[in-house]
Amino acid sequence: MAQDGIGARVARKEDKRFITGKGRYVDDMRVAGMKHVAFVRSPYAHAKVGGINSEQARNMPGVLAVLTGSELVADGIGNLICGWMVHSKDGTPMNMGAWPALAPEVVRFVGQAVAMVIAETRAEARDAADVVAVEWEELPAITDPAKALGEGVPQLHPEAKGNLIYDWEIGDKAAADKALSEAAHVTRMEIVNNRLVPNAMEPRAALAQYDAAEDHFTLWTTSQNPHVARLVLSAFYNVAPEHKLRVIAPDVGGGFGSKIFIYPEEVACLWAARKTGLAVKWTGDRSEAFLTDAHGRDHVTVAEMAFDANNRITAFKIDTIANFGAYMSLFSSSVPTYLYATLLSGQYDIPTIHCNVRGVYTNTAPVDAYRGAGRPEATYVVERMMETAARELGVAPPELRRTNFIREFPHQTPVIMNYDAGDYEASLSAALSASDYAGFGERKAEAARRGKLRGIGLSCYIEACGIAPSQAVGSLGAGVGLWESAEVRVNPVGTIEVLTGSHSHGQGHETTFAQLVAERLGVPIDNVSIVHGDTDKVQFGMGTYGSRSGAVGMSAISKAIDKVEAKAKKLAAHLLEAAEGDIEIADGEVRVAGTDKKLGWHEVCLAAYTAHNLPEGMEPGLKEGSFYDPANFTFPAGAYVCEVEVDPDTGHTEIIQFVAADDFGRIINPMIVEGQVHGGIAQGVGQAILEGCIYDPESGQLITASYNDYAMPRAHDLPSFKVSTTETICPSNPIGMKGCGEAGAIGTPPAVINAITDAIDNNDLSMPATPEKVWRALRAGATAMRQAAE
């Protein structure tokens, strides 16, 4: 193994700029003549937009322009799209309502933009935006997804009758019903997955510049996938042709999914840059982020699980309503269908599954992928059901899982996915052992002596990452292929630049990708630079989400390295007068195996560029590219154990211990992987006990619209975590990786709620399990027990 190669705990190469304040985020960018944008946003959840009088605003100090939705539409700027076509079970396509970047006629959620002000300073733009006079005609609003499907409720889009986006299903309903009717035991639950705000710490921002002489646009934006942004902005929104648009996503301060999507502000800024000839920058504030970033989750589900007399699952039936908010965001349609229902088999051998999903419009912010995207919702349903079933059946929770584990691979589930490798027993055993699960009883008794209620909860999750085989997702309605590309550029002196379509916004690609190159080509990682985030530099790419950068992005790099290696070996064999098959590359040298004949790596590289002595037919240079299309999804899995103590007087939950045992396949940098898991667990704990969106059901106002009302996890809400990994190599990609970015957010929430419900001996508890909810559940449980005793 190279010193800084695969498996090494290498400190991150990118850290220095961040710890010295030299990171370059979009709001740090300045270009000559740059002006500032503020948006005029709807104070109503649902309203008709009448006239917009901007005369007063135009006369404010520093104001250069006020642009409105009707001008944007008149200029032919296209509506925002959802790029994944999902069909209802009756074969009809999903019902997509029109979403202009600036609303000319109707607004459907609080915060939707209707106009923009351009001014010399940010403060002046905001001053003027405040006095743009919009004639609003308020309409009744609906925020509750289940109610939105009812009769006589406000309707959002003429394209979607009854607010229904689609009524979709997967699996065999008749078989599931039959198994349920014949079951020895049925566990049934109503489960709500709470709506979350992603809350990347860097608010979204966009800086757009138009060069009239070249008819060329540049957009600096907070994106996880600048090439996808460029494609969508040009192909669908008509703001700029693709070859005339450069999209740069520089340092990006976290994404968690929320920066995948192309937002109205990016469209509007590009359009405004050409229309006014001014370079314009918009930087959102946290309030705008709460109102307009795509939210996550928001499912209402009824689930039934059938067991036979041996506690084996015979069928699983799920009915889910998914809240999409007011518009269909870029990948929204796939999240509660192909990223959710396809994971409902969990780690278990379940012969029959049926899932029905209804997507629904409400007067709330659009909902799309947020860390885990569909898989946390699936895991929460499966693992709450398993823990509950174990309690109902009187079986130890680990045992019920063991009884039903999939033990042979590959395993075809009834819901599309074909699991290629895994060892669920290994991760479960590791988690039980690390948490001293067996010794819990003693700890519970000790806590009781201190007046605390101690509980333990388990969660065995699976997810599908490595998104995704292009042909497979194409057949399921995806508008794009989900491959990745890479170019490995070896310089004449032997240093290496890797151009990747993946985008790093915290994941440490500049280090881990370099480790792969170091491992394969025997160069120090300091001699490797990773180039990403700029469509003018990098050939193409699909970006970073769905824990795909390792399994897909690095696989593309690996394939490009294969080609570089082959060419270098061929050249070295020629120079050293040896057989190609005898050449090995290691430790900065290119050697003939078993001899002392060798060349320095840099000598071979230089020879490739001097081209004085190349093998017959070989082109000069040493630069290779690859497009890698994954053969399958990857299937990270693991077991999490959470231990809590509840204060019975206040209902406050303290997370005492959190253990994660994950199988991510081959690991490049354990330190970075652990960091990813830590962050995911924190977000999972956040969802379980702290975070949740509340919209006022009448007005549609977001009540949890700042950190005063939306509870973000702080350091002392969390313990230090015990994380470890087990390993089964993924057979579906050349590196054997599965992906680790989302696991924590997927596996954690059910472990926490299973622990709290265990502590308080009442299973009726929804997320976020706030102190008051837990306090009430405790009292309700006590009342129920008293009544039962009487």
Partner: protein, 272 residues
């Protein structure tokens, strides 16, 4: 933030004059309530009069049976004051539990009590420690100072220059924080004074702002222990209710925090 004019006062008199000259001025001290509100354009003032450089509003002194703290003293200065820690450890504890470290470096005693914010901690100490609020023109007993939610006995341009707290025989503070904002959802300051009287003041929970829990005071006057509070509760109808906690839940928290404050007597660290 809307446009404004910044004026720095070097004396209390100058501050008051600057305030009165403006049409809609506000005093600026630590700024941790005022500036976030103004940044979000939920409030606008044409003039901000900065009080933080006024020397006469600084200082801590122990005078007989009272501790006098300048209105311009930051929470960190009060929490770290050896005089306060010796005389009224639970007051140092309360100051050290406000907001976060950075807020405590800026936020001031005067600012904390000047607008009877239900989320402020100091009003509980002021009531429980029979404080006298000193302004640039008069002295006001804490019992007369907090009149209603976000309302005090202060006149519009009046400045809190200091607060004088009675040194109790013993006292304790405990609070339960709002999981999002981390402000108290119920903070209870319990004090037994040298004359034997007991004061129990509650912040964060009441729908009229900070209040004295008289039933608890009477019970504790006879038996100054948590046992005396057994079965005692505040009326939920008088509590605030919001998305973080219903009135009923807050009523429960008040009782729990009162017990915990009694378990925390004399401690220089608040129970949170």
């Amino acid at each position: 933030m809307y446009s404004l004019t910044y004026k720095r006062a070097d004396s209390v008199e100058e501050a008051r004059r600057l305030f009165q000259e403006a049409s809609d001025a506000a005093y600026l001290a630590g700024g941790h309530t005022l500036l976030p509100t103004m940044k979000q354009r939920l409030a606008a003032h044409d003039v901000l009069v900065d009080l933080t450089r006024i020397g006469s509003m600084k200082g801590i002194s122990v005078e007989g049976d009272r501790v006098r703290i300048g209105g311009g003293m930051t929470h960190a200065e009060v929490a770290g004051s050896s005089e306060v820690q010796r005389a009224i450890p639970s007051l140092a504890a309360l100051a050290g539990s406000i907001g976060d470290a950075q807020v405590r470096h800026r936020g001031t005693l005067g600012g904390s009590i000047a607008n009877d914010d239900p989320a402020a901690d100091y009003p509980a100490a002021a009531l429980a420690l029979a404080a006298t609020i000193m302004t640039d023109s008069r002295e006001i007993a804490a019992d007369d100072f907090f009149t209603a939610l976000y309302e005090t006995a202060l006149e519009e341009s009046e400045i809190v220059t200091g607060v004088s707290f009675a040194i109790p025989e013993t006292a304790g503070y405990a609070k339960f924080r709002n999981p999002a904002s981390r402000y108290p959802m119920a903070g209870v300051f319990v004090a037994r004074h040298r004359d034997g009287s007991v004061r129990v003041a509650v912040t964060g929970a009441g729908n009229e702002g900070v209040f004295r829990w008289q039933a608890a005071e009477s019970a504790l006057a006879g038996d100054f222990s948590a046992n005396a509070l057994e079965g005692l509760s505040v009326d939920p109808d008088l509590m605030m209710g919001d998305i973080h906690g219903s009135a009923e839940y807050r009523a429960n928290l008040v009782a729990v925090m009162a017990r915990r404050a009694l378990a925390n007597l004399g401690s220089a660290e608040a129970i949170i």
